[in-house]
Symmetry: C2
Subunit: 455 residues, 2 copies
């Protein structure tokens, strides 16, 4: 029996996972990947750490080369842009960006893995040299060569999410004086005040300034054409390097034009099998929604690990495996300077918005038993639904052991544990790893006193 023809649109994390999974499960399948760019399967999340080390090539981040993909018998068409999708006839229209030709390609099953793109602020001067995004390898390469060739001394980071925090660290390490500029007063939207306070301390401790409350109006260049200042309604901020990291948006144009259902989040709606509203079409990764296990509906949280899982499931289901995505619980985190910052589940505001009656605690504890050298403070925030005691989410921040402890929260959330369940966990104790009461248990011991009544 000859296999099906499976077309995958997009060759990064979700797309290549889907292609590989389909081919592994059905070697007779013809698997074709159309990728608009020149590279496949790279670890975009690793870009800040690569930029920090001028001796490393940005190409180090490529996980799978085209040659390796071909060895898996996956047909790769780089610089091919899928410009139209007809789900009735099961064909896509593909534009060869080199030859400038267009062809129709038929499929039995289609996986859309078109990813997301960085938001460009539509401001005068924002196309100047010296103003960057950080979303794909070309962005990373441009930043590296700018730093190598122009040795900028003052950077402005727009936005205050994970990538911004990581890049504040990287740019500081590379010798730049860094400022974060934001119109709104809060950084790390959706995180607790307690976690944000620790993050702000860490930024300050490393000389990163945070300026908020202005409206950004544009950017100005000097005689060499490179940016020299960010302009705002409160005057100019001199700079020779600007990173726009104000968020991303899903690439859904193709799906919209093909009439696929778009979710309330703005990303492509999928069911728990990653199938879109069209028969024979799956979506995976940053362009697609993901099922949220606590909220029991779709959300859009674009992350590399979810993209890989989505891709694997979409690829399996494209050849009829019928696999279900277990869903996300909102586990995310980052490291910057000496701090690990991690969370899982709902934040306080989100819990309220979703109709819970949250109670919460924040505790500080040492990361190890006092007998073992090298302990450092770790701060745990836990949130529960007051009336039911259901654990809703938590944040952990500290110099060590913070991120891995968020996995305990993620695992507890996956099985809808109560605070009492959390309190009863048999977590590891040994002086090098934890105090006799793990910080998560200390927080649970406190939170349980608030459960059963709302605040």
């Amino acid at each position: 029996m000859s296999g099906q023809r499976i077309i995958v649109i997009g060759g990064v994390a979700a797309g290549m996972s889907a292609a590989s999974q389909a081919k592994r499960r059905q070697p007779s399948a013809e698997v074709v990947v159309f990728e608009r760019g020149t590279r496949i399967s790279y670890g975009a999340c690793g870009m800040p750490y690569n930029i920090e080390d001028p001796s490393r090539d940005i190409e180090d981040l490529v996980v799978l080369t085209p040659d390796q993909a071909l060895k898996r018998d996956i047909e790769l068409r780089l610089r091919h842009d899928v410009v139209a999708l007809d789900t009735e006839r099961r064909v896509v229209t593909v534009r060869n960006l080199e030859a400038e030709t267009e062809l129709e390609e038929p499929y039995d099953a289609l996986v859309i893995a078109t990813g997301a793109h960085a938001i460009h602020l539509p401001l005068p001067g924002f196309d100047l040299p010296g103003i960057f995004h950080l979303r794909n390898l070309d962005h990373g390469r441009l930043i590296k060569s700018q730093i190598a060739e122009h040795s900028p001394s003052k950077a402005i980071v727009l936005g205050a999410g994970y990538v911004s925090m990581e890049m504040c660290n990287v740019l500081t390490e590379l010798g730049l004086k860094v400022q974060i500029l934001k119109n709104r007063p809060r950084i790390l939207r959706g995180w607790s005040e307690e976690t944000v306070a620790v993050v702000v301390d860490e930024l300050n401790r490393h000389g990163v300034e945070i300026h908020t409350g202005m409206n950004i109006t544009g950017a100005e260049a000097g005689t060499d054409g490179n940016v020299t200042a960010l302009t705002t309604d409160q005057g100019p901020y001199p700079t020779d390097f600007i990173l726009q990291a104000v968020g991303v948006q899903p690439n859904v144009n193709l799906a919209v034009e093909a009439g696929l259902r778009i979710g309330e989040t703005g990303a492509i709606w999928v069911d728990q099998y990653q199938q879109t509203s069209a028969e024979g079409v799956w979506a995976a990764g940053d362009c697609a929604e993901a099922y949220h296990r606590i909220l029991r509906r779709n959300v859009w949280i674009p992350l590399g690990t979810t993209a890989n899982k989505h891709g694997r499931i979409a690829g399996a289901n494209a050849i009829g495996a019928g696999q279900q995505f277990a869903g996300v619980v909102g586990t995310t985190g980052f490291k910057f300077f000496d701090l690990e910052v991690a969370r899982s589940g709902l934040g306080l505001e989100q819990a309220r918005t979703e109709g819970f009656e949250p109670v919460w605690v924040t505790i500080k504890q040492q990361s190890r038993a006092h007998a073992y050298p090298g302990a450092s403070p770790i701060q745990v925030t836990l949130i529960a639904d007051g009336p039911t005691g259901i654990f809703l989410g938590g944040e952990i921040v500290g110099r060590e052991g913070a991120a891995m402890r968020a996995n305990v929260l993620a695992t507890a959330l996956a099985s809808h544990m109560t605070v009492a369940d959390l309190q009863g966990l048999d977590l590891i104790y040994s002086p090098p790893f934890a105090p006799v009461w793990d910080p998560v248990l200390v927080a649970a011991n406190q939170l349980i006193k608030k459960v059963g009544r709302t605040v």
Copy 2:
């Protein structure tokens, strides 16, 4: 209303937790702690790390001093040995070891927290100077002064459990040449061959020799009275320092003589409220059994963290709180040299003995995304029941992130997850913390292929 009179036997982890909890919940209660030794509430698990640093006093490990306990209004009687218990009359007979007098003391509620003791091999010469245990602070002090004053050069460690591994590291760091001697060929009983192989590599890499297969017959002294050799049926092993770390036994004499039920494990039987078979008598810590959540019956796994939890529950229940111990799942671990070694749940042999039909995998993976420097291999072994897919336990060993990942297993075991549940976890991904597929997920992805059929 005046409170009850609560007597606690034993003033270390479980005992002081019980006393503090009872007093906190019922300030009017009269709480009396009888402790045979001269110290309370010390972190015995920290002794190896204290011994490693000659500049630190062993007293650094005391968590709560008698003065601090008195401030909590807990009545402390050090050097008082409880020699008899009459559960009908609710009195204990207490011997003052200083005054050599005996008194009867009445109680409303009694908490037995008599701990465990190191097993002494009954061999000729095993009372010689230079032969040590490591169970209480006096043992630790003796070892420190022996090393400081006699500068031993060759150590033999008897036994091959956690304390042995930790002490192999410590003694090597202090400049001793270390040998492990065992009659049986396996070290780390109950752990997988795969984990043991990594541990043995680490011992070898640091020059620790492992000798097995001999019967130990005794020890010999030199002219100065200090040990000079361990004797075996295969000849003598010259040494000037021997650590006996062949295991511990619960201190149950008092309970046996009082007619309390002793469990099949040899420790004091308790229900999930930590109550013994006698009305008004609770037991906590290393002298007591603990409920096991997977096996759904009592086990005896003496650990500091369990002792603290037991104590808290026994203390609360002594004043009528009716708290239930959630149980253990067998989470343990240790660090030695550069290796973290951790587990949770059942081992393979244990799973078989308990009537499961285990399937298992062992995988090796990097601890971080390749984009982030400093990754090291991490080995994960997962075990499940073949027919049902229920996750039974796992072991993790590596240079970083191993111990904290065992907490994911512990949390999964607490809610009786299947391998599919484990595979669906939304664990954290960021290059400094984990690869895009966390090692635990990689192992689950492999193990799921074996579930549904037994091997």
